[in-house]
Subunit: 200 residues, 2 copies
Amino acid sequence: MRLFDYVWSGNCHKVKLFASILSVPLEIVPVDLLAAEHTRPPLSELNAFCELPVLIDGDLVLRDSAAILIYLARRHGGEDWYPSGASDVALVSQWLGTAAANVNFGPALARGAEHFGYPADRAMTSRISDRLFFALEGHLQRRRWLELNRPTLADIAMFPYVAAAPEGGINLTTFPAIQRWIKQIEELPHFIAMPKVPSP
Amino acid sequence: MRLFDYVWSGNCHKVKLFASILSVPLEIVPVDLLAAEHTRPPLSELNAFCELPVLIDGDLVLRDSAAILIYLARRHGGEDWYPSGASDVALVSQWLGTAAANVNFGPALARGAEHFGYPADRAMTSRISDRLFFALEGHLQRRRWLELNRPTLADIAMFPYVAAAPEGGINLTTFPAIQRWIKQIEELPHFIAMPKVPSP
């Protein structure tokens, strides 16, 4: 399996993290986002949305980090990470939606604006982040993991940009339950950390 | 099953549309988003993200439209709409991510800004919409349905805000494949249309 990857992308990191946890080897193909390599062939032909990550497995070309996580879970992780039953799969899927919308356009975009010059409406990223961290803290005050009392794709999908939120100027010290949950994920077997963005 | 619903929300509409297609009855609980009812109890206690839709089925409380679609598909739709196999479920899931991110922060937010005064960075909504409709048109020029040569949750999740894009000032006349795909969905048995926003 080949993963087209950008080293500072949390959406790429969640795929590498999950592959590591499952002990699935990935061939990493680095893409230079800042040089806009994702907007030119071969990337733009593999994914017309010009987004990373992209996974290739034989004839299958997959875009969207959550879709790739689901693929890895179904092929290599059995029922543990992305279950089949109606309620369980729906509960986990809620957080794939939150990661795609609220996380990407909240803390992830704030970090991108701060460090990589992404154009961003900072009032929007703050509004979304405030609501997100409030809701997440409340949820994790009553639970050890996001759903099903065990680590699932919900935790993997949410983790990278929540843990990296301080790089976008978001202070996590007032969110003890979120900090505890970050630590739990860091203690999973075969955990790999996302590299910290170098200070300017 | 009770659905907390906002009549002008495409994310609520996709749940009502899919329930109609599956002939699953829903008890609709209208919520007045413009009066901020979603930010107060009981809604804010059912969903701390203060977003709609929310589905209640017995003890189960679900937020996030894609998660609710997956729940309905698994409970009432068999394997057709959200399959179990690794490649098939991943291919369909790609579009649930696109609906959550690119659609919500592109054409859906443009429509919200235009008609409901949602704060929006219009440069961002245009940039995201341009890429989205370009990629979607190219994809649908080579396929009848988004994935698997049949209607799936991918089509249901993408449909409402793509079809309603003109209400956000996006002209669909230059996208013939998207227009053909919209028509196909409108011809599905038990299709229900989202009401058009009244002109100001």
